[in-house]
Subunit: 417 residues, 2 copies
DNA sequence: GGCTTTTGTTCACGGTCAGAGCATAAACTG
DNA sequence: CAGTTTATGCTCTGACCGTGAACAAAAGCC
């Protein structure tokens, strides 16, 4: 992102570039490929890799495929290297995972909860602290995805669960008592839509896309613009709320406090309402999935509302691609016709010539969790982050036991990964 | 923006940083202040300034105020330094100016036109070419602001003037015959709203603001998000069209091809329609100004629609500041009460706690022209741009006569600068 | 007029990367 | 199976850059 000014910053900058390249490609590229991609001299790459390996950040393995010349190696995560703890908190359950550099995910824990701030975040905090203690300095950060707007580094509102300015960092670590202020080393709290978009930008269908629009459909609808691989999260961190614009002409009051929000017409709650079932409070995920699978009419209504809103956003923002995650994937698969039919008349004439691609996410329901991981590594893969690592690893990293590879059942929804 | 990788890139990067700092502060800071601001050693700054002065890019003048120690100097534009040609094309007239590094503007020409592509751009192209010939290599680029969406580097649509995919670069320079492709050295065509937002970000009320929303009101309404000093112009360059979302619940067909656009309810055309006068086709600027000054009712209707749309966008994007330019300044001065009253009920509850500031532009009607200038310097103030300059100035720049300092009357509207 | 303060200039020094030359390790060739 | 080809890793030299200290310069202050 930013530029180096002095020679020593230059070295730090190149260390970060190399490490990020390894992470972004999922530890698949060989050293010689990386050398070319980053326009480095072979000697420079040699020094950089050696340094990162010595710091316990990288570990080279022989490259699998046999090629013509001298065999090269694939730099990947160090066996005692940094781990990001990532959490996806939904309205009815949470999932905790440890993630290596490169993006390999090991699910550590999955638990349902009662929808209250204490009921959800208390046990989660305990689990996080236990794993942090077990992993020691290998745990370089905690990223948490939450299904509501996040303000000023941790205050979360989820109107339909009755969460009002819930201080998530404080509830996760009661002793540290941070009043909304982002404690150094505290959890990185983010909106699930914004984090799903981040994952999509790094490892999904928005990879390499300069301007993309990501929409995340769960109980309600979130949306955010992704520019140059970064979701635009607003001034206070809560800028992924495209669902709270009155794009579909409704006049129903929204729990958010406004009226006629697009979000009222798309998502699990809208599906349930459409068929006359009870909705709200984070309940009814299974019924909603049943409706999605069986009620042609409710699906069509959802898809129509989705399409109309997409048209408005495409007019305004001119994205190259529109991606859908959560229920959006199935909604698009089952009713792309209605969606596109509702979208087209809402487009400006000049947009109809070259409409953006619309695509389901490649990450399924894993987006928010992966985005939480990326948010941790985004902070770690900086000169400052690597300096901290170096300080916490005086010479040789102590032998930490591998994280238990028990993979619990993951949160509901398909998991293509 | 991006970072240097090698030592020599580092030098180029620091040259750019210094030059940009001079430009951004309007050539007001002293060399010692710049040295501190950029965290440079005095020796480095010395070498950099000397190099830039020798290249004909900077020229140091003694600092005006007398301080305690050894007197310092103020680096400013070189008398034979680079000039950006900037053009603001409106529906009924255009204005051409030459701009020095640092932002000093000299208006070169102002002319009304008939609203046709040829009528507007033919004479403009002649004027531009004449000045380019006069200035030689000092003219480092041409930036053009146009009141409609700009696609793929130059194709412009202005529905209410009947412009459909007008190839602006080709019409400005018929001999070069670029078919929409951005010719190297060709004009940088941009949307007036996006460029007004750019100017606001660099020299107006969005300076230093991480996330801001800028709305430009002329005959109709344009809007764009500004992040880190950069307006988000979409995948094809036409992402400043917040006016073409159905935010106010109308159902009137819009010339753009969609229905119920916000833009139908705000701007000169909306004012004229409200009082029953003829509108469209870029005519009626003076009548609209009269309506704005006299009709309480039409102004209130405009302000209400503006406020309602702002609420939706604030919900979605969480900007820190909302700025208004063009007629928006007067609209806000005359009816901020109605605007805010319409905005508030549309906000999410969490936004009502900390609503963004709303402010009239500090640049009045000059924004688009200044933004056109900034777009030229944004391309010039890069390692590549400075290399081109060095190549076109083999050793010592030839003596070019100063641009005539005749300042024509500027385009209609107040000009605080 | 001498002292203090601030800034510009010069230069030795350490750090960084590019590039060339050489070593290495595989596949290919006959 | 031995020589050739090819691609890569390693090492060293050279050029470049910014830092920081020492010195010079130019003003205000006492």
């Amino acid at each position: 992102m930013n530029g180096a000014t002095t020679s020593v910053e230059l070295r730090a900058h190149n260390r970060v570039r190399l490490l990020r390249a390894v992470h972004d490609c999922g530890a698949t590229r060989t050293r010689s490929q990386l050398t070319r991609d980053l326009h480095l001299a072979r000697g420079t790459a040699s020094v950089l890799v050696a340094g990162l390996a010595e710091d316990g950040l990288l570990h080279e393995e022989p490259a699998p495929g046999a090629a013509r010349g001298r065999p090269t190696h694939v730099p990947g995560p160090h066996p005692r290297g940094p781990l990001a703890l990532a959490v996806d908190v939904r309205e009815d359950a949470w999932e905790l995972a440890a993630c290596e550099l490169g993006g390999r995910v090991t699910v550590l824990d999955v638990r349902p909860h009662d929808g209250t701030p204490e009921g959800a975040l208390g046990p989660l905090g305990e689990a996080v602290r236990a794993h942090q203690a077990r992993l020691g300095p290998r745990a370089v950060g905690v990223g948490v995805a939450l299904p509501g707007p996040v303000r000023h580094g941790g205050l979360v509102d989820i109107p339909h669960l009755g969460w009002r300015s819930v201080d998530v960092p404080a509830l996760l670590a009661p002793d540290r008592g941070g009043a909304g202020a982002p404690v150094p080393g505290g959890p990185l709290v983010g909106n699930d839509t914004a984090l799903a978009a981040l994952a999509e930008a790094r490892r999904g269908r928005l990879r390499g896309v300069r301007v993309g629009l990501h929409l995340h459909v769960d109980f309600d609808l979130g949306g955010v613009l992704v520019v140059d691989g970064r979701p635009l999260d607003g001034a206070g961190g809560s800028g992924a709320e495209f669902g709270h614009m009155p794009l579909t002409g409704g006049d129903r009051p929204c729990p958010c406090g406004a009226t006629g929000c697009w979000s009222m017409d798309v998502g699990a709650n809208a599906l349930l309402r459409r068929v006359g079932l009870a909705y709200g409070g984070g309940r009814g995920r299974e019924q909603a999935e049943h409706v999605l699978a069986t009620s042609e009419e409710a699906v069509a209504a959802n898809a129509t509302a989705l399409g109309r809103g997409i048209a408005a956003l495409v007019n305004a923002l001119d994205p190259e691609v529109v991606t859908l995650s959560g229920h959006g994937v199935e909604l698009y698969e089952r009713a792309s016709g209605q969606l596109l039919a509702a979208c087209e008349p809402g487009l400006m004439a000049i947009r109809r010539d070259r409409p953006p691609r619309i695509a389901g996410s490649a990450l399924g329901w894993r987006g928010s969790l992966l985005g939480a991981m990326e948010s941790v590594f985004d902070e770690f893969l900086t000169p400052e982050g690597l300096d901290r690592w170096r300080e916490s690893h005086p010479d040789q990293a102590p032998d930490t036991p591998e994280p238990q590879n028990v993979t619990h059942s993951t949160l509901k929804g398909r998991n293509p990964i």
